[in-house]
Every structure is written in C-alpha cells, then in structure tokens.
Amino acid sequence: MTTSVIQPKRRRRIGEGRRFLSAPAIVYLILLTQVPFALTIYYSFTNWNLLRPGSAGFLGFGSMFRNYQRILQNPDFWQVLTNTLVLTLSVVVVTFVLGMAFALLLSRPFPGRTLARTLLISPFLMMPVASAVVWKYLLLDPAFGLSAWVSRSLGLPAVYLVEFAPLASIIAIVSWQWTPFVMLILLAGLQSLPEDVVEAARLDGAGPLGLFRFVTLPHLRRFIEIALLLEIIFVLNVFGQIFVITSGGPGIQTTNLPYQIFLEAFSRWNIGRASAYGIFAIVLANLAVILFLQVVRRSRQEEGR
C-alpha cells in the first residue's frame, strides 16, 4: 500500500476517535479466525471422537502429542503430503506457462480480442464443483465422453483418464480453472508496460526475445509474484474437484491435506486427529508463503535491487 502523504497533523484535529472505526472488523476477524485456530490447537491434544461419547478428554501432558505421533508414523500421511505438494506445484507451473502464453496472445490488439478474453476468463468464473461434474461425466466418461471419442477416432483404446492417471487428471482440471487467474494478472502487467520503454529498447536493437527477457519480464516481476503467491495459497486448499471426481482415490492417490482432514473429521468423526491434521495444513500454508517470499527476496538481491 502506498503511504499517504496528505498532512497527517491537520487530519488529526477532527474525530481522533475515528481511527477506532476499524475495531469492529478486527474483532470480527479475531472471533472468526483466531478463536477457531486456538481451538484447533487445543482439540489436537485431545482424544475427542464424536462416535465415542464422553471421549472429549485432554490426552495428558505425558501423551499430549499422541495425535501428532500417530500421524507422523502413518505412511499414508507422507503420501497425502506428497500429493498436496505435487498437486500445488504442478498446477502453479502449468498455469504459469499457459497463463503467460495467453496473456502475451492477448497483449496486442487484433479483431475479436474482447471475445477471446471473455472466453478465456470463463473457466475461472466456473463453480469448481460444476466444472468437476462437467469434466467427469461429460468430457472424460469412458463410455460416451468426448475423450473416448477423440481417442477412438485416433485409433487408440478409450482409457478412463481419471482411473488411468488420477492425480494428473485432477492437476489438469484444476489448472484449466486457474490459468485465467494468472493470465488476467499478467495481462494487466503487460498492459501497464509503458510503450516508450518498448520503443526505446527496439531502437537499441532488441529482438522479440531480448525484449521479452530484458524489458517485459523484469517489468512483470511484481505481477508474477503476486499471481503465484495467491495461487499457491488457493491451490493448497483444493477440495471440490477431488470430492466430486475421485473422492481422494483410488486408494489415497488423490487425497490432499484438506481432503484428508475432511475424511478424518466427517467420516471418522475423529475431532482430535482431524485437528492435528489441521495444524499440519496451517503450518504447510505458512511454510509455503514464507519459502516463497524468501525465494523472491533472494532473486531480488541477486539482481542487485
């Protein structure tokens, strides 16, 4: 945020108390996020299971970390963690490449540009569970789906992609949804690139590739950073597509952390264990953001900024 420079002193005179107008919003957010967060920590130290009445007990200081120990000893957890990371990183890479390509395509004027942009942003506006239903039953169905028709027309056997490559299917479908998000942010970046800078670089003899590498990319840096950061945060939480398309299966091949928490809480009703998983999800999200900011800072330093 830009720091305001308009005479702070004169402003103070009227309604000093007005700075507390932010209090309701802050209190609201504390109640809605910090209280549940604290409770998640507390529950993670209990053996509370809604299927066993009267089990809401604290585990005792000697064994308070039992839920965490069980999780860390469970090989399924490492699979779930790997799935979460593979899903998130793959989606980020795929959407970045496609989003950048689409943004470049839209960055110069041509007849039909508005139509193209309208069509391209649409997947982002789709309700995730609706796009999951469309992909699963209309496009990828092995009996009458379009993918079956395409592969048979090419003389190949019709495989059910969701069974053949479950995690890759989820990655593809989530990427389809998130590419427009990256594209829109990068497009805004491209359009804020001053024309005279481009012109000057051209006069200095820069070719299209040199122009992209030394003028466009550095200018886009902030836009790329914000797009990827937001995307990481959102894609770590992907749930609807997995719920509809694979239910985390086959086995646990497409179970990510949110889906695991959902299973633990709402089909095993194990409040204690689910809360401990929740703590892992929170830690993972924070680690991802911190790590990302670290990378950003380091690459900035290397460029001598």
């Binding site: 998640t40 139509l115 942009r117 649409s122 929740g278």
Partner: protein, 274 residues
C-alpha cells in the same frame, strides 16, 4: 493484403482458436443441457441436434435447483453486504487515520485470509453445532462475511487513498457528519471500486464449497452442495438434466464476470499495483 495485416489475421485466428478450446467444456455443458437424454449419451457425440428445453423444465424449474439457488443468492448477497458494512468504516480508519499500527493490522487481516479453511473446519463445526448454526443461512452468512472481509478492507482502503483528502475536508467545513461523509462524499466517488470489490466477493461466495458442504445438510445448502451430489449412477439418463442444472448454477457468475471484466481485473491486480 500487406504482410502485417496477414500477421494480425493469423494472430487473431490462433488466439481465438485457443480461447475457444479453453471455453469448450463450458460450451459443451450448455449444449448437452439442450439435448434429449438419448442424444446426450450418444456415441459418437452428436454435434448437431434439435434443441429441447425439456431438461431445463424438469431439472431446473421442476427440481430443487431454484430452492438451492435461493439459498445461494440469499447467503451471497447478505454476506457480501455484511462484509462491506464492516469493511467500509475499517477502510476509512485505515486510509485516513493512519497510526504506527495501521500497516501491521492490514497485513494481519490479509494473513487471516491465508488461513486454510481445512485448518479451522473442526472447531467451526463444533461452534456451529453448539450455537445451533449448523445448516442455517445465518451461520454461512456470518462465516462468508468474515472470509471476504480482509479482501474488502484491503481493496476499499486502496480506493479511498486515491480520493483527495481535500474533498473530505471541504465537506467537514460544511459541517458534514461522519455518516454524511460516508454517504454524500465517499460513496459516490467509490462506487466503481465498491462494485469491483463486491464482484470478487460475490464470485468467491457463490462458488464456495468446502465450508458449505461441511456445515449444511439440506435446508441451508447452497447450489455448490447440490451440484456436488450429481452422479451418473442416478441412471444413465441423467446426463442432460445434470448439465441443465449445472448450467443454471454457473450462469449468474459467468454473466456477471463477463459484464464486469474491467472490475474483475482491477480487483485481482490491486495487490500487484499498489
């Protein structure tokens, strides 16, 4: 035709082709909703068919879709309004009464938006159960308002910082109360910004699924919960009606997003530009 114009033509064709491919799943959904159930599962797929509105009549206007859509509309509008009502004064304080702690509070607010929903779903479920908020509109409205609040404060603060403070001072010299400052001075100036903010909040809320599916069962369930229950297993003749219901569920947000593309971009790039 010159080489340059030929190049533009090729560029346009290529881009439109790519755009059409990305859009195709949505188009296919809409087309399937207009087929008979037999045409919908025909193999090879039917590209040309006589459209019928039977599925829409049965699945959308005869089925429970409208009921769920009513829930979604009510929850979305009420939670967005609540987020704006809480966020607008907060943004006012953040923009015009900066203290040493303002930047910190802003960042803290944004950080709450980064909290993974799955990380807090368990206590939220327990709290909702104890307060009898499970499967109620009120529960989801309160929750979604909080979900959108950081975004609202962040964006509206940004828009307010662009308003010249002299305008507000002038109003004060004329004896304007705080309420008059809000409604007479700021509201008209911020209308486009507020529209962009509301649009993003509407999209997020309309499409939300994780909280909705875990905190409602039927009475207050939004559309996303209904759509997620679709199964081809409910009879192979269900595909076309399913498409009709899914199309009905996504059309409002699609159209809103199409109309307000500029506002959408403003909202999404707020963080990058500021």
């Amino acid at each position: 035709m010159t080489r340059k114009r030929l190049g533009t033509l090729a560029w346009a064709t290529g881009t439109l082709l790519v755009a059409f491919t990305m859009f195709f799943p949505i188009l296919w959904m809409a087309l399937t909703s207009l087929k008979t159930e037999n045409d919908a599962i025909a193999f090879p797929p039917k590209w040309f068919f006589t459209p019928t509105f039977e599925n829409w009549r049965v699945a959308v206007f005869g089925g429970p879709v409208l009921e769920f859509m009513g829930n979604t509309v009510w929850i979305t509008l009420a939670s967005t309004l609540l987020a704006l009502a809480l966020g607008f004064p907060a943004a006012y304080a953040m923009a015009y009464y900066r203290t040493k702690r303002t930047d910190g509070s802003m960042l803290w607010m944004m950080s709450t938006r980064m909290l993974p929903p799955a990380g807090v779903i368990v206590p939220l479920f327990v709290i909702f159960r104890d307060l009898s908020l499970l499967d109620t509109h009120l529960g989801l409205i309160l929750l979604f308002a909080g979900m959108n609040l950081p975004l609202v404060v962040w964006m509206v603060t940004g828009f307010m910082e662009d308003v010249p403070f002299a305008l507000i001072e002038a109003a004060r010299l004329d004896g304007a109360s705080l309420w008059q400052e809000f409604t007479r001075v700021l509201l008209p100036l911020l209308l486009p910004g507020l529209a962009a903010t509301a649009l993003l909040a509407l999209i997020f809320t309309w499409n939300e699924f994780f909280f909705a599916v875990n905190l409602t069962t039927r009475a207050a369930s939004p559309l996303s919960v209904y759509v997620s229950t679709f199964k081809a297993a409910q009879g192979d003749l269900f595909v076309a009606k399913m498409s009709a219901a899914a199309t009905a569920a996504v059309i409002p947000v699609l159209v809103a997003g199409w109309i307000a593309q500029r506002q959408l971009v403003t909202g999404l790039t707020m963080g990058a530009v500021k």
